[in-house]
Symmetry: C2
Subunit: 489 residues, 2 copies
């Protein structure tokens, strides 16, 4: 059913950066086994110069946490790693600790498919620092890319204005998992199907596909190839027109369409995969209409993304469906989200309360937000989001009428009439899944609903309006105080 149990049954714990393990050994050796930490996954900028992102990958976190164990083969590998200065990198006692390791963390997350904005804790992990650290890389590996793809897919699907979009990206993805992640996240983001058969099997996503140019080339003539395909797939026959010459392809497809009609069948669709898709789709539509085959749908592919699809419709292209591959699977032109995992609070065995911490850095935008954070999403009477407030448990003043960084009176007025909803919900408790898992279909529905309610000004591709996200007043004060303290001011 999921990425983790299918692909890395025994060595999921090694799907990590070495420094997580050297740090874990450090915590073990420093007697900091009881030290607790709170880590947040967040990104700093919306992808694709857009106004939002879709939280994705969340549905697979619980399984990752539950399965993060070290088997004997993994321990043996770690025991053999030599330090650059000579001698084993890991001590026997630490390896013994890993041998019986299991996660005890608690995890909160934005429900999969919901909107997420920069700086917001998309996933919050609390528990022994040593465990939180061992989860970091695999967690980022899971949510970074899927959030990016779901967001890309939602853009492509919106550009397609209700016409079906199928994921065709497997051949350009990063191995089998990459293809699976693309299919899963793009389905949640709004695609209607995938060409990826394994994704269909594992995630129960509708699969779609027709034939390639090689089918046509394997026969003596295009007409023979079309006839053979119609015979083999009478109920879902989609003919690819551009192997040799599209106009000849149109004539041959019409011939076969007429032959199918004579047998009481219907040619379902044709596909064009190269050339000027606007011009060719118009010529194709006209030819099929004139031939009395107005029901034959037109499908196109060839390096499509949201902007080319917008352009095709702006040119009046009569296209019924899209296959989108390379630029979806690689999230061109922004192939990474840049999501990070940062410590925001610590607590030692002696502490009663969490100690909020923040990272500074010369680059001001890299400064983190401290505390045990929750996101409040303010929604108006019709359920449309008007602004998000990040709140820290301990420093919360309870004031819901003002957010720091958000000062325009229009937003403040809208917030005043809206109801806050706590966005982060528990998904893992003491290392075990909390509650029933959401299905992919639920995540897909949530995404569709959330996008429908989002202000069109925030959704548009060109210069989207920035969705208001601010800090609760107490958290803003705390952050200012910590920054001054850490800088020794």
């Amino acid at each position: 059913m999921s990425l983790t149990d299918r692909t890395v049954p025994t060595d999921v714990a090694l799907n990590t950066d070495l420094y997580e393990l050297t740090m874990a050994q450090g915590f073990w050796e420093s007697g900091l086994m009881d030290a607790q930490g709170c880590f947040n996954v967040f990104f700093r900028d919306n992808p694709f110069n857009g106004g939002y992102a879709i939280a994705c990958g969340i549905g697979q976190i619980a399984e990752l946490v539950e399965n993060l164990r070290f088997d004997e083969e993994s321990i043996a590998y770690l025991a053999g790693i030599q330090a650059p200065g000579g001698g084993p990198l890991f001590k026997q006692g630490f390896l013994d600790y890993l041998r019986t390791f299991r996660m005890h963390v608690d995890v909160w997350a934005i429900p999969e498919g919901d909107l997420v904005f920069p700086r917001e804790p998309m996933v919050r992990v609390q528990g022994p620092v040593i465990e939180c650290q061992l989860l970091e890389t695999a967690l980022l590996n899971l949510v970074n890319f899927q959030t990016l793809v779901a967001t890309k897919a939602s853009r492509v699907v919106r550009a397609a204005e209700g016409h079906p979009v199928s994921d065709f990206g497997l051949r350009r993805a990063q191995g089998p998992d990459g293809g699976l992640a693309v299919a899963r996240a793009s389905y949640i983001g709004g695609c209607t199907s995938t060409s990826n058969v394994l994704a269909g099997k594992i995630y129960d996503i509708p699969v779609f596909g027709t034939h390639a140019h090689s089918w046509v080339m394997a026969f003596p003539t295009e007409l023979e190839a079309f006839r053979a395909f119609a015979k083999s797939s009478p109920k879902n026959c989609c003919l690819l027109l551009d192997t040799y010459d599209v106009h000849q392809g149109i004539r041959n497809a019409i011939t076969v369409g007429k032959e199918m009609e004579a047998r009481g069948e219907r040619l379902a669709a044709i596909r064009i995969d190269s050339g000027d898709l606007a011009k060719l789709s118009k010529e194709t539509r006209a030819a099929f209409d004139e031939a009395g085959l107005p029901y034959v749908k037109i499908s196109v592919s060839n390096d499509l993304e949201e902007y080319t699809i917008q352009s095709l419709f702006a040119q009046g292209a009569p296209i019924d469906s899209f296959g989108v591959g390379t630029k979806l699977a690689t999230c061109d032109p922004q192939p990474s989200l840049g999501g990070v995992y940062k410590l925001s609070a610590t607590r030692s065995a002696d502490d009663e309360a969490w100690r909020p911490v923040m990272k500074l850095s010369e680059q001001v935008y890299k400064r983190t937000i401290p505390g045990i954070q929750q996101i409040l999403r303010f929604e108006d009477a019709s359920g449309c989001p008007v602004g998000d407030m990040i709140v820290d448990e301990a420093s919360d003043t309870g004031d819901r009428t003002a957010m720091v960084d958000i000062i325009d009176p229009v937003t403040m007025h809208r917030l005043a009439g809206a109801t806050p909803r706590e966005l982060l919900v528990p998904i893992v408790s003491d290392g075990v899944r909390a509650g029933e898992p959401n299905t992919i279909l639920e995540a897909k529905a949530r995404c569709k609903d959330a996008l429908m309610r989002l202000d069109p000004a925030t959704k548009r591709f060109l210069n989207p309006q920035i969705y208001p996200v601010g800090l609760e007043r107490g958290l803003a004060d705390l952050r200012q105080r910590l920054a001054l303290e850490e800088l020794g001011a």
Copy 2:
């Protein structure tokens, strides 16, 4: 030992686009089970506006071919897929055929790690068309991305001018496989290590890593954090300086470095992960030299790629090693190679000889090269490549003194004095690995050697000279003739 047997033990055959299976059923139903095909994997443009690419992923093809079987669970899934028009998409007889399916194809490929240029058949697959088709997607999924990453890595490594580069990209890769592919291909392309522990285990790649900002934040002060890490990792201590303020970080690291000296240990290195790396690395170098710790190495990271590394050295930054993550793992700014798999010849049961075929398309650059192709790499007396000639078995005139499309007298003169080497070698015969597998270290050495021998004008990043690749005269004539025939001229 490899991607395929580790991650998709039972359902590797479903890691494919649906249309491969609908076409396979079509061939089965059309009685074309004996029809033979020759398919080539190639790309149309060098990635990153560069002058070359590094063939990668080749070493895992044989295992993919040997393991491409359909288990009962996969068959059951396929049996349940409904056609859009209703009823099962796949017929029982075809599913029975899949039940006992195994590959009988022959595969030739450029040795892993060697140079490859646009339009050249990087991998050539011959066998029953139905089998070739079922291999397409998984094969592209394997070689497309790894070739791209190996090429990107080779560029980053060349920019680093001999200083070690470590792959840090796992958290931005497309799932566990993505991270493994990045680690494997970037090691072949020239990286010295990876942060990815699983890649270290599976591929025997050296692993590397130190600590994160969270380590520092988990302690009351930076100095305590540095002391604890030095104690835990005395032989490979690398301290991260930029959690709060780099200058304070330098002072604390010097304190700890001095304390280590007093214990007879040595602080190995420091790392800077944000801010102005040129300025900060110079200040760090000066401070450590002045403190009598000139042996402490400087390592940097933070969204690096070939151009930022070049710029750092152009500014005189005294950097000893690099961690390169996001832009390596996602091959920013070109996240896909665009490699395709095209039919170039067919042969029916009755044919004595192969029938060359080509795809046309309105876009002239999408026209393919027909025939059973071999690449001849011409090398001068010192083994440096001077040009590649694509030759078709059947149409070969034997003339090695001229190539079509390559007409400049300098190239022709160099070719005349060079020796041709057949680049494609058999790696699979009748569905089974041919010969001993190359190790990753052999591929890495081959890559290093090939790049060393390549003309610097072709290797440079800015406006590289185009490496001469042409068609043998007989093949060029054949291609011209086929194009005219197919256009009905």
